[in-house]
Protein backbone atom coordinates (compact mmCIF):
# COMPACT_ATOMS: atom_id res chain seq x y z
CA UNK A 1 0.00 0.00 0.00
CA UNK A 2 2.77 2.39 0.96
CA UNK A 3 4.56 1.43 -2.27
CA UNK A 4 1.62 2.50 -4.36
CA UNK A 5 1.51 5.82 -2.53
CA UNK A 6 5.22 6.31 -2.99
CA UNK A 7 4.91 5.55 -6.73
CA UNK A 8 2.15 8.12 -7.17
CA UNK A 9 4.08 10.85 -5.43
CA UNK A 10 7.23 9.91 -7.29
CA UNK A 11 5.63 10.02 -10.72
CA UNK A 12 4.10 13.38 -9.90
CA UNK A 13 7.42 14.73 -8.73
CA UNK A 14 9.34 13.37 -11.73
CA UNK A 15 11.96 10.73 -12.32
CA UNK A 16 14.61 12.21 -10.10
CA UNK A 17 12.75 11.52 -6.88
CA UNK A 18 11.47 8.05 -7.76
CA UNK A 19 12.21 5.42 -5.12
CA UNK A 20 15.55 3.77 -5.79
CA UNK A 21 15.48 0.36 -7.48
CA UNK A 22 18.44 -0.82 -5.47
CA UNK A 23 19.37 -2.60 -3.35
CA UNK A 24 17.94 -5.70 -4.97
CA UNK A 25 16.78 -8.44 -2.69
CA UNK A 26 15.86 -11.94 -3.89
CA UNK A 27 14.31 -14.31 -1.37
CA UNK A 28 13.73 -18.06 -1.72
CA UNK A 29 13.08 -17.78 -5.44
CA UNK A 30 11.69 -20.96 -6.97
CA UNK A 31 10.97 -21.53 -10.65
CA UNK A 32 9.56 -24.86 -11.73
CA UNK A 33 8.18 -26.17 -15.02
CA UNK A 34 6.32 -29.39 -14.30
CA UNK A 35 8.92 -31.65 -12.75
CA UNK A 36 11.86 -29.56 -13.89
CA UNK A 37 13.23 -27.34 -11.16
CA UNK A 38 15.14 -24.41 -12.62
CA UNK A 39 15.57 -22.21 -9.55
CA UNK A 40 15.41 -23.86 -6.16
CA UNK A 41 15.23 -21.35 -3.34
CA UNK A 42 17.63 -18.75 -4.68
CA UNK A 43 18.70 -15.91 -2.33
CA UNK A 44 20.69 -12.88 -3.42
CA UNK A 45 21.34 -9.30 -2.35
CA UNK A 46 22.89 -6.76 -4.70
CA UNK A 47 24.16 -3.32 -3.81
CA UNK A 48 23.41 -0.02 -5.47
CA UNK A 49 26.26 0.37 -7.92
CA UNK A 50 28.68 -1.48 -10.12
CA UNK A 51 28.69 -4.41 -12.48
CA UNK A 52 27.58 -7.82 -11.29
CA UNK A 53 28.38 -10.79 -13.50
CA UNK A 54 26.19 -13.89 -13.28
CA UNK A 55 28.02 -17.08 -14.23
CA UNK A 56 27.17 -20.75 -14.19
CA UNK A 57 26.96 -23.86 -16.32
CA UNK A 58 24.57 -24.09 -19.27
CA UNK A 59 21.10 -24.75 -17.98
CA UNK A 60 21.79 -23.30 -14.56
CA UNK A 61 18.90 -20.87 -15.04
CA UNK A 62 20.85 -17.66 -15.64
CA UNK A 63 18.67 -16.42 -18.49
CA UNK A 64 15.41 -17.26 -16.72
CA UNK A 65 16.71 -15.60 -13.56
CA UNK A 66 17.36 -12.43 -15.58
CA UNK A 67 13.83 -12.57 -17.01
CA UNK A 68 12.42 -12.95 -13.51
CA UNK A 69 14.40 -9.92 -12.36
CA UNK A 70 13.02 -7.98 -15.34
CA UNK A 71 9.42 -8.94 -14.64
CA UNK A 72 8.94 -10.90 -17.86
CA UNK A 73 8.10 -14.06 -15.91
CA UNK A 74 6.41 -14.98 -12.66
CA UNK A 75 8.28 -17.19 -10.19
CA UNK A 76 6.66 -20.33 -8.84
CA UNK A 77 7.44 -19.11 -5.32
CA UNK A 78 9.59 -16.58 -3.51
CA UNK A 79 10.01 -12.93 -4.28
CA UNK A 80 12.17 -10.38 -6.01
CA UNK A 81 12.20 -6.89 -4.55
CA UNK A 82 13.72 -3.88 -6.30
CA UNK A 83 13.89 -1.40 -3.45
CA UNK A 84 10.53 -2.72 -2.26
CA UNK A 85 8.93 -2.87 -5.71
CA UNK A 86 7.86 -5.91 -7.73
CA UNK A 87 9.79 -6.59 -10.97
CA UNK A 88 6.71 -6.02 -13.13
CA UNK A 89 6.32 -2.55 -11.61
CA UNK A 90 9.81 -1.51 -12.63
CA UNK A 91 10.27 -3.21 -16.02
CA UNK A 92 10.16 0.18 -17.72
CA UNK A 93 13.00 1.47 -15.56
CA UNK A 94 15.23 -1.38 -16.71
CA UNK A 95 16.39 -2.60 -20.09
CA UNK A 96 17.21 -6.15 -21.09
CA UNK A 97 19.55 -6.98 -23.95
CA UNK A 98 18.81 -10.49 -25.17
CA UNK A 99 21.38 -12.99 -26.33
CA UNK A 100 19.88 -12.89 -29.81
CA UNK A 101 18.77 -9.35 -30.57
CA UNK A 102 15.23 -9.07 -31.91
CA UNK A 103 15.32 -6.22 -34.40
CA UNK A 104 12.35 -4.71 -36.19
CA UNK A 105 11.96 -5.09 -39.94
CA UNK A 106 13.01 -1.50 -40.46
CA UNK A 107 16.14 0.57 -40.92
CA UNK A 108 18.74 0.86 -38.17
CA UNK A 109 17.64 4.42 -37.34
CA UNK A 110 13.95 3.45 -37.44
CA UNK A 111 14.59 0.78 -34.81
CA UNK A 112 15.79 3.50 -32.43
CA UNK A 113 13.13 5.99 -33.49
CA UNK A 114 10.51 3.41 -32.60
CA UNK A 115 11.74 3.01 -29.03
CA UNK A 116 12.27 6.73 -28.46
CA UNK A 117 8.80 7.52 -29.77
CA UNK A 118 7.08 4.75 -27.85
CA UNK A 119 8.70 6.06 -24.64
CA UNK A 120 7.86 9.67 -25.43
CA UNK A 121 11.51 10.62 -25.64
CA UNK A 122 13.24 13.07 -27.93
CA UNK A 123 13.72 11.42 -31.33
CA UNK A 124 16.55 13.81 -32.11
CA UNK A 125 18.69 11.54 -29.93
CA UNK A 126 18.74 8.83 -32.61
CA UNK A 127 21.83 10.25 -34.29
CA UNK A 128 23.76 10.64 -31.07
CA UNK A 129 22.88 7.13 -29.93
CA UNK A 130 23.96 5.61 -33.24
CA UNK A 131 27.16 7.59 -33.05
CA UNK A 132 27.72 6.34 -29.53
CA UNK A 133 27.59 2.69 -30.64
CA UNK A 134 29.46 3.33 -33.89
CA UNK A 135 26.53 2.71 -36.25
CA UNK A 136 26.02 6.24 -37.58
CA UNK A 137 27.11 5.22 -41.07
CA UNK A 138 24.59 2.38 -41.11
CA UNK A 139 21.60 4.50 -40.06
CA UNK A 140 19.63 3.93 -43.26
CA UNK A 141 20.47 0.27 -43.74
CA UNK A 142 18.02 -2.53 -42.98
CA UNK A 143 18.59 -3.51 -39.36
CA UNK A 144 18.23 -7.21 -40.00
CA UNK A 145 21.12 -7.24 -42.44
CA UNK A 146 23.60 -6.06 -39.80
CA UNK A 147 26.37 -8.40 -38.73
CA UNK A 148 26.06 -10.12 -35.34
CA UNK A 149 28.23 -7.55 -33.61
CA UNK A 150 26.47 -4.60 -35.21
CA UNK A 151 23.05 -6.03 -34.41
CA UNK A 152 24.01 -6.41 -30.78
CA UNK A 153 25.36 -2.85 -30.66
CA UNK A 154 22.04 -1.64 -32.08
CA UNK A 155 20.21 -3.66 -29.42
CA UNK A 156 22.42 -2.02 -26.82
CA UNK A 157 21.72 1.44 -28.24
CA UNK A 158 18.01 0.63 -28.10
CA UNK A 159 18.35 -0.41 -24.48
CA UNK A 160 20.25 2.79 -23.63
CA UNK A 161 17.64 4.87 -25.45
CA UNK A 162 15.20 4.08 -22.64
CA UNK A 163 17.61 5.59 -20.06
CA UNK A 164 17.48 2.49 -17.87
CA UNK A 165 18.50 2.62 -14.23
CA UNK A 166 19.41 -1.05 -14.46
CA UNK A 167 20.85 -2.65 -17.59
CA UNK A 168 20.38 -6.42 -17.78
CA UNK A 169 22.54 -8.22 -20.33
CA UNK A 170 22.08 -11.85 -21.32
CA UNK A 171 25.32 -13.06 -22.91
CA UNK A 172 25.33 -10.16 -25.37
CA UNK A 173 28.78 -11.07 -26.68
CA UNK A 174 28.28 -14.80 -27.17
CA UNK A 175 29.61 -15.80 -30.61
CA UNK A 176 30.98 -12.35 -31.44
CA UNK A 177 34.51 -11.64 -32.64
CA UNK A 178 36.99 -10.08 -30.17
CA UNK A 179 36.71 -6.58 -31.62
CA UNK A 180 32.92 -6.65 -31.33
CA UNK A 181 33.20 -7.97 -27.79
CA UNK A 182 35.45 -5.10 -26.79
CA UNK A 183 33.20 -2.55 -28.50
CA UNK A 184 30.22 -3.81 -26.51
CA UNK A 185 32.19 -3.94 -23.28
CA UNK A 186 33.23 -0.35 -23.77
CA UNK A 187 29.65 0.82 -24.29
CA UNK A 188 28.54 -1.07 -21.18
CA UNK A 189 31.45 0.34 -19.17
CA UNK A 190 30.48 3.87 -20.20
CA UNK A 191 26.91 3.25 -19.08
CA UNK A 192 28.23 1.95 -15.78
CA UNK A 193 30.40 5.05 -15.36
CA UNK A 194 27.27 7.18 -15.80
CA UNK A 195 25.69 5.36 -12.88
CA UNK A 196 23.67 2.63 -14.60
CA UNK A 197 23.57 -0.56 -12.55
CA UNK A 198 24.83 -3.46 -14.70
CA UNK A 199 23.77 -7.09 -14.29
CA UNK A 200 25.54 -9.18 -16.88
CA UNK A 201 25.23 -12.90 -17.67
CA UNK A 202 28.37 -14.29 -19.29
CA UNK A 203 30.42 -17.42 -19.88
CA UNK A 204 33.46 -15.43 -20.87
CA UNK A 205 36.04 -15.55 -18.04
CA UNK A 206 38.16 -12.84 -19.63
CA UNK A 207 35.13 -10.61 -19.86
CA UNK A 208 34.24 -11.28 -16.25
CA UNK A 209 37.79 -10.43 -15.17
CA UNK A 210 37.72 -7.22 -17.22
CA UNK A 211 34.32 -5.95 -16.15
CA UNK A 212 32.94 -7.54 -13.01
CA UNK A 213 32.92 -5.97 -9.58
CA UNK A 214 31.31 -9.06 -8.13
CA UNK A 215 30.43 -12.50 -9.41
CA UNK A 216 27.29 -14.49 -8.72
CA UNK A 217 27.82 -18.16 -9.47
CA UNK A 218 24.62 -20.14 -9.98
CA UNK A 219 24.47 -23.89 -9.58
CA UNK A 220 21.56 -26.29 -9.08
CA UNK A 221 19.13 -23.41 -8.96
CA UNK A 222 20.88 -21.59 -6.14
CA UNK A 223 23.65 -19.09 -5.61
CA UNK A 224 26.66 -21.34 -5.06
CA UNK A 225 28.91 -18.37 -4.52
CA UNK A 226 28.69 -14.58 -4.47
CA UNK A 227 31.99 -12.83 -4.01
CA UNK A 228 34.13 -9.98 -5.24
CA UNK A 229 35.52 -10.68 -8.70
CA UNK A 230 39.14 -10.73 -7.55
CA UNK A 231 38.33 -13.25 -4.82
CA UNK A 232 36.25 -15.39 -7.14
CA UNK A 233 39.05 -15.86 -9.63
CA UNK A 234 41.91 -16.18 -7.14
CA UNK A 235 40.19 -18.25 -4.46
CA UNK A 236 36.76 -19.56 -5.38
CA UNK A 237 35.07 -20.68 -2.20
CA UNK A 238 32.72 -23.26 -3.69
CA UNK A 239 33.74 -26.59 -5.14
CA UNK A 240 31.57 -26.19 -8.25
CA UNK A 241 32.97 -22.75 -9.03
CA UNK A 242 36.46 -24.23 -8.87
CA UNK A 243 35.42 -26.94 -11.30
CA UNK A 244 33.77 -24.37 -13.58
CA UNK A 245 36.89 -22.22 -13.65
CA UNK A 246 38.98 -25.30 -14.41
CA UNK A 247 36.67 -26.24 -17.25
CA UNK A 248 35.40 -29.43 -15.67
CA UNK A 249 31.90 -30.74 -16.10
CA UNK A 250 29.82 -31.02 -12.97
CA UNK A 251 26.60 -32.98 -12.90
Amino acid sequence: MSDVGAMTIASAAGAASRPALLPLSVRDLVLRFGNTIVLDGLNLDLGATGCTMIMGFNGSGKTLFLKLLHGLMQPTAGCVSWGGLQPAEVTARQALVFQKPVLLRRSVAANLDFVLRSRGKDRARTGALLDHVGLARKADQPARLLSGGEAQRLALARALATDPEVLLLDEPTASLDPASVLAIEQIVSEARARGTRIIFVTHDMGQARRMADDIVFLHNGRVAEHSAATDFFSEPRSETARHYLNGRIVV
Partner: protein, 239 residues
Protein backbone atom coordinates in the same frame (compact mmCIF):
# COMPACT_ATOMS: atom_id res chain seq x y z
CA UNK B 1 -17.05 -30.41 -81.88
CA UNK B 2 -15.05 -28.84 -84.67
CA UNK B 3 -17.66 -26.11 -85.01
CA UNK B 4 -17.45 -25.16 -81.37
CA UNK B 5 -13.67 -24.93 -81.50
CA UNK B 6 -13.96 -22.89 -84.69
CA UNK B 7 -16.43 -20.61 -82.92
CA UNK B 8 -14.16 -20.24 -79.93
CA UNK B 9 -11.27 -19.39 -82.21
CA UNK B 10 -13.27 -16.66 -83.93
CA UNK B 11 -14.52 -15.38 -80.60
CA UNK B 12 -10.98 -15.24 -79.25
CA UNK B 13 -9.91 -13.17 -82.26
CA UNK B 14 -12.81 -10.80 -81.69
CA UNK B 15 -12.05 -10.69 -77.98
CA UNK B 16 -8.45 -9.64 -78.55
CA UNK B 17 -9.68 -7.02 -80.99
CA UNK B 18 -12.13 -5.70 -78.38
CA UNK B 19 -9.40 -5.48 -75.76
CA UNK B 20 -6.92 -3.79 -78.04
CA UNK B 21 -9.42 -1.29 -79.46
CA UNK B 22 -10.37 -0.17 -75.93
CA UNK B 23 -14.09 -0.73 -76.46
CA UNK B 24 -15.90 1.80 -74.19
CA UNK B 25 -18.53 -0.70 -72.97
CA UNK B 26 -15.80 -3.15 -72.10
CA UNK B 27 -13.75 -0.52 -70.27
CA UNK B 28 -16.77 0.63 -68.31
CA UNK B 29 -17.33 -2.90 -67.05
CA UNK B 30 -13.66 -3.35 -66.19
CA UNK B 31 -13.43 -0.07 -64.30
CA UNK B 32 -16.60 -0.74 -62.32
CA UNK B 33 -15.25 -4.17 -61.40
CA UNK B 34 -12.01 -2.68 -60.16
CA UNK B 35 -13.76 0.14 -58.33
CA UNK B 36 -16.12 -2.20 -56.50
CA UNK B 37 -13.54 -4.84 -55.61
CA UNK B 38 -10.75 -2.43 -54.64
CA UNK B 39 -13.11 -0.43 -52.44
CA UNK B 40 -14.39 -3.63 -50.85
CA UNK B 41 -10.78 -4.75 -50.26
CA UNK B 42 -9.96 -1.41 -48.62
CA UNK B 43 -12.97 -1.64 -46.29
CA UNK B 44 -12.27 -5.30 -45.56
CA UNK B 45 -8.69 -4.41 -44.57
CA UNK B 46 -9.92 -1.51 -42.44
CA UNK B 47 -12.05 -3.95 -40.46
CA UNK B 48 -10.17 -7.22 -40.89
CA UNK B 49 -6.63 -6.10 -39.99
CA UNK B 50 -7.47 -4.66 -36.55
CA UNK B 51 -9.65 -7.68 -35.77
CA UNK B 52 -6.88 -10.04 -36.91
CA UNK B 53 -4.35 -8.12 -34.80
CA UNK B 54 -6.52 -8.10 -31.68
CA UNK B 55 -7.11 -11.83 -31.88
CA UNK B 56 -3.44 -12.43 -32.70
CA UNK B 57 -2.11 -10.78 -29.55
CA UNK B 58 -5.13 -11.37 -27.30
CA UNK B 59 -5.40 -14.11 -24.71
CA UNK B 60 -9.02 -14.39 -23.73
CA UNK B 61 -11.63 -17.00 -22.93
CA UNK B 62 -13.25 -18.47 -26.01
CA UNK B 63 -10.32 -17.53 -28.23
CA UNK B 64 -10.30 -20.97 -29.85
CA UNK B 65 -13.98 -20.61 -30.66
CA UNK B 66 -13.30 -17.24 -32.26
CA UNK B 67 -10.51 -18.79 -34.34
CA UNK B 68 -12.78 -21.58 -35.58
CA UNK B 69 -15.51 -19.11 -36.54
CA UNK B 70 -13.02 -16.80 -38.26
CA UNK B 71 -11.55 -19.63 -40.27
CA UNK B 72 -14.97 -21.02 -41.15
CA UNK B 73 -16.16 -17.60 -42.35
CA UNK B 74 -13.33 -17.61 -44.90
CA UNK B 75 -15.39 -20.13 -46.82
CA UNK B 76 -18.60 -18.08 -46.87
CA UNK B 77 -20.50 -18.92 -50.08
CA UNK B 78 -20.88 -15.71 -52.13
CA UNK B 79 -24.51 -16.44 -52.99
CA UNK B 80 -25.39 -16.73 -49.30
CA UNK B 81 -23.69 -13.40 -48.56
CA UNK B 82 -25.53 -11.92 -51.53
CA UNK B 83 -28.82 -13.27 -50.27
CA UNK B 84 -28.27 -11.91 -46.72
CA UNK B 85 -27.30 -8.47 -48.01
CA UNK B 86 -30.27 -8.57 -50.40
CA UNK B 87 -32.66 -9.33 -47.54
CA UNK B 88 -31.32 -6.37 -45.57
CA UNK B 89 -31.28 -3.91 -48.45
CA UNK B 90 -34.51 -4.88 -50.21
CA UNK B 91 -37.32 -2.37 -49.83
CA UNK B 92 -39.03 -4.32 -47.05
CA UNK B 93 -35.74 -5.08 -45.30
CA UNK B 94 -34.36 -3.21 -42.26
CA UNK B 95 -32.02 -1.10 -44.40
CA UNK B 96 -34.39 -0.78 -47.34
CA UNK B 97 -34.87 2.97 -46.70
CA UNK B 98 -31.28 3.56 -47.85
CA UNK B 99 -32.28 2.60 -51.40
CA UNK B 100 -28.98 0.84 -51.99
CA UNK B 101 -30.18 -2.35 -53.68
CA UNK B 102 -28.95 -2.70 -57.28
CA UNK B 103 -26.27 -0.05 -56.83
CA UNK B 104 -22.47 -0.40 -56.78
CA UNK B 105 -22.64 0.45 -53.04
CA UNK B 106 -24.63 -2.72 -52.41
CA UNK B 107 -22.01 -4.71 -54.32
CA UNK B 108 -19.24 -3.15 -52.25
CA UNK B 109 -21.08 -4.03 -49.04
CA UNK B 110 -21.58 -7.65 -50.13
CA UNK B 111 -17.95 -8.10 -51.20
CA UNK B 112 -16.68 -6.45 -48.02
CA UNK B 113 -18.67 -8.94 -45.93
CA UNK B 114 -17.40 -11.74 -48.11
CA UNK B 115 -13.68 -10.94 -47.80
CA UNK B 116 -13.33 -9.24 -44.41
CA UNK B 117 -13.17 -12.69 -42.73
CA UNK B 118 -10.44 -13.73 -45.16
CA UNK B 119 -8.39 -10.66 -44.33
CA UNK B 120 -9.00 -11.12 -40.59
CA UNK B 121 -8.17 -14.83 -40.49
CA UNK B 122 -5.08 -14.66 -42.69
CA UNK B 123 -3.71 -11.53 -41.01
CA UNK B 124 -4.30 -13.13 -37.61
CA UNK B 125 -1.96 -15.96 -38.60
CA UNK B 126 0.69 -13.62 -40.02
CA UNK B 127 0.58 -11.27 -37.02
CA UNK B 128 0.56 -14.06 -34.46
CA UNK B 129 3.73 -15.54 -35.96
CA UNK B 130 5.42 -12.14 -35.90
CA UNK B 131 4.23 -11.50 -32.36
CA UNK B 132 5.83 -14.76 -31.24
CA UNK B 133 9.13 -13.31 -32.38
CA UNK B 134 8.62 -9.82 -30.96
CA UNK B 135 6.54 -10.30 -27.82
CA UNK B 136 9.31 -10.67 -25.25
CA UNK B 137 11.20 -7.68 -26.60
CA UNK B 138 7.98 -5.66 -26.67
CA UNK B 139 7.14 -6.61 -23.09
CA UNK B 140 10.65 -5.62 -22.07
CA UNK B 141 10.03 -2.24 -23.72
CA UNK B 142 6.67 -1.97 -21.90
CA UNK B 143 4.75 -1.18 -25.09
CA UNK B 144 1.02 -0.59 -24.80
CA UNK B 145 -1.38 -2.85 -26.66
CA UNK B 146 -1.97 -0.15 -29.25
CA UNK B 147 1.76 0.39 -29.78
CA UNK B 148 2.22 -3.36 -30.15
CA UNK B 149 -0.55 -3.66 -32.74
CA UNK B 150 0.72 -0.70 -34.73
CA UNK B 151 4.27 -2.05 -34.75
CA UNK B 152 3.09 -5.53 -35.78
CA UNK B 153 0.91 -4.18 -38.59
CA UNK B 154 3.78 -2.05 -39.91
CA UNK B 155 6.43 -4.74 -39.64
CA UNK B 156 4.18 -7.33 -41.32
CA UNK B 157 3.27 -4.87 -44.07
CA UNK B 158 4.67 -6.96 -46.93
CA UNK B 159 3.03 -10.17 -45.76
CA UNK B 160 -0.24 -8.27 -45.23
CA UNK B 161 -0.02 -7.09 -48.83
CA UNK B 162 -0.41 -10.73 -49.84
CA UNK B 163 -3.34 -11.04 -47.44
CA UNK B 164 -5.01 -8.04 -49.08
CA UNK B 165 -4.31 -9.59 -52.45
CA UNK B 166 -6.04 -12.81 -51.41
CA UNK B 167 -9.09 -10.76 -50.46
CA UNK B 168 -9.06 -8.77 -53.67
CA UNK B 169 -8.68 -11.92 -55.73
CA UNK B 170 -11.69 -13.46 -54.10
CA UNK B 171 -13.75 -10.27 -54.53
CA UNK B 172 -12.94 -9.57 -58.16
CA UNK B 173 -13.54 -13.20 -59.17
CA UNK B 174 -16.81 -13.88 -57.38
CA UNK B 175 -20.11 -13.66 -59.20
CA UNK B 176 -22.75 -14.95 -56.78
CA UNK B 177 -22.94 -12.01 -54.40
CA UNK B 178 -22.72 -9.15 -56.90
CA UNK B 179 -25.30 -10.62 -59.25
CA UNK B 180 -27.86 -10.89 -56.43
CA UNK B 181 -27.38 -7.43 -54.91
CA UNK B 182 -26.23 -5.66 -58.09
CA UNK B 183 -28.54 -7.21 -60.59
CA UNK B 184 -26.10 -6.99 -63.53
CA UNK B 185 -27.70 -3.79 -64.84
CA UNK B 186 -26.02 -2.48 -67.97
CA UNK B 187 -24.03 0.74 -67.41
CA UNK B 188 -24.85 0.63 -63.69
CA UNK B 189 -23.92 -2.56 -61.91
CA UNK B 190 -22.49 -4.79 -64.63
CA UNK B 191 -19.07 -6.08 -63.63
CA UNK B 192 -16.72 -8.50 -65.35
CA UNK B 193 -17.94 -11.71 -63.75
CA UNK B 194 -21.65 -10.98 -64.12
CA UNK B 195 -21.10 -9.85 -67.70
CA UNK B 196 -19.22 -13.05 -68.48
CA UNK B 197 -22.07 -15.12 -67.04
CA UNK B 198 -24.66 -13.17 -69.01
CA UNK B 199 -22.80 -13.05 -72.33
CA UNK B 200 -22.00 -16.75 -72.15
CA UNK B 201 -25.63 -17.64 -71.61
CA UNK B 202 -26.57 -15.33 -74.50
CA UNK B 203 -24.02 -17.06 -76.68
CA UNK B 204 -21.92 -13.90 -77.20
CA UNK B 205 -18.64 -15.60 -76.56
CA UNK B 206 -16.46 -12.74 -77.86
CA UNK B 207 -17.35 -10.29 -75.10
CA UNK B 208 -17.28 -13.05 -72.48
CA UNK B 209 -13.84 -14.17 -73.57
CA UNK B 210 -12.55 -10.61 -73.80
CA UNK B 211 -13.64 -10.01 -70.20
CA UNK B 212 -12.21 -13.34 -69.15
CA UNK B 213 -8.89 -12.40 -70.73
CA UNK B 214 -8.81 -9.08 -68.92
CA UNK B 215 -9.72 -10.74 -65.64
CA UNK B 216 -6.80 -13.13 -66.06
CA UNK B 217 -4.43 -10.33 -67.01
CA UNK B 218 -5.48 -8.29 -63.97
CA UNK B 219 -5.01 -11.29 -61.71
CA UNK B 220 -1.57 -11.96 -63.18
CA UNK B 221 -0.54 -8.32 -63.12
CA UNK B 222 -1.58 -7.69 -59.53
CA UNK B 223 0.14 -10.87 -58.38
CA UNK B 224 3.31 -10.00 -60.26
CA UNK B 225 3.33 -6.51 -58.77
CA UNK B 226 2.88 -7.78 -55.23
CA UNK B 227 5.49 -10.46 -55.77
CA UNK B 228 8.06 -7.95 -56.99
CA UNK B 229 7.37 -5.63 -54.04
CA UNK B 230 7.83 -8.56 -51.69
CA UNK B 231 11.06 -9.62 -53.35
CA UNK B 232 12.47 -6.11 -53.04
CA UNK B 233 11.46 -6.10 -49.38
CA UNK B 234 12.94 -9.56 -48.83
CA UNK B 235 16.31 -8.38 -50.12
CA UNK B 236 16.29 -5.88 -47.24
CA UNK B 237 15.12 -8.55 -44.79
CA UNK B 238 11.90 -6.58 -44.27
CA UNK B 239 9.62 -9.59 -44.89
Amino acid sequence: MGNILQGVGDALGLAIQLVLSGDPDLLEIVFLSLRVSLTATAFACLVGLPVGALVAIGRFRGRNGVLIVMNALMGLPPVVVGLLVYLHLSRSGPLGFLGLLYTPAAMIIAQTILIAPIVAALSRQVLEDLHMEYSEQFRSLCLTRLQTIRALLWDARYSLLTVGLAGFGRAVAEVGAVIIVGGNIDHLTRVMTTAIALETSKGDLALALALGLILLIIALGVNAAVQSVRMTAARQAYV
